[in-house]
Subunit: 252 residues, 2 copies
Amino acid sequence: MQAKTPTACIVVIGNEILSGRTQDKNVAWLAKSLNETGVRLSEVRIIPDVKQTIIDTVNLCRKTFTYVFTTGGIGPTHDDITSDAIACAFGIELELNKEAAAILENQYGKEKLNAARLKMAEIPVGATLIANPVSAAPGFSVENVYVMAGVPGIMQAMFDNIKHTLTGGAKMLSRTISAFTTEGVIADKLTAIQNNYPEVEIGSYPFIRNQRLGTCLVSRSTDETKLVSAHENIRSMLLAITQEVTEEDLAA
Amino acid sequence: MQAKTPTACIVVIGNEILSGRTQDKNVAWLAKSLNETGVRLSEVRIIPDVKQTIIDTVNLCRKTFTYVFTTGGIGPTHDDITSDAIACAFGIELELNKEAAAILENQYGKEKLNAARLKMAEIPVGATLIANPVSAAPGFSVENVYVMAGVPGIMQAMFDNIKHTLTGGAKMLSRTISAFTTEGVIADKLTAIQNNYPEVEIGSYPFIRNQRLGTCLVSRSTDETKLVSAHENIRSMLLAITQEVTEEDLAA
């Protein structure tokens, strides 16, 4: 079943993430949105604004995963090199895309559409545009690679415009429960439950809240019946140890 | 100069990040902390709790980068498989580390040191322990690979304990300035400044604040004189366009 679920890799292109200046917010949002379309996020790579690194990473990932989503580097400034790198990765040329140029002319007017802005209409030959309702300059896709903006509000609008084109598999469902007990106390009992439910992926995540240690248990499966059953086993196991148990309602 | 700066790759091991359930906070913190030691974060990979994926990723990254830091998967539950995977990656055995076992016995007491907790003392033969002042169970390093906890408070304490062992190069310095103007307006002038300062890496990052578009310009270099000079050029360029310019004081 796992093998049939389409997979995705996000390639975050951005020195600003690697320097620690900017906290990435795209990965968590895209992870959830992909799951809603039945696509499983299987890997994320955060790489610098270096052309050869982008080319090598995209070429490897597009062969490994069903879909690749890149974020960042499609603006008008000198450090925006993603479109060029994607064209090189596919061995195709960049061209002034007439549709994209028309969108930009409509946005800025003829007099303000300078060379830098027009650079945002340089798109690999044969690519499909991804509409950008926030700031006009479009993203694009080539085969299974979707090239999107890095600004979260723009990236989200772009993804919402293309998600209907993705072929999803079974949606991953989840149940989450947390308790003020520690992993060391529950580990053996949890292993027994995991062994009884091979179709359910049970994750255990320790946390510290108000200086107290707790554990959050997330069950995930495409099979709702088995998911609910595994989750109820976990709940019973926890309640036998502590009454401080909280059900959490999370989408993924 | 770039080639002499030690590089780092962070390998985030965690289904909870790939599902979107947990927002990663370790990358930005580690990026800044590494920079303070003169090590450049060059790539991040977020991978699932799959043993072979961990092995393959670590083996590739430890040959490519000066240092590799993993986060996550060293607890006592069934989904904590990092230590086992690291041992396999290096082709060495896991053993019950006596020093780690003594730390855990001191933490939990003999009667509460069950098999699950003792699993956290199973460390690759010959590894160096990384102290964990928060919850006792240590991380470890093998050659250039540092294996740390995923909980941010614990990871940070572990890193603070090992950072003096890293060999750093020149520290990357930075200056940041933002203005309510758009990239399309300044792109050509910015390219000219970038061309005049090849030793300075100038990044341009659009933002939306209070529904207004702006641009944040980050200059980074190990050469402070050239950095300050490039930054002053950028400031003058911006002030000729708008008075709405803000200097930002950021560490990296």
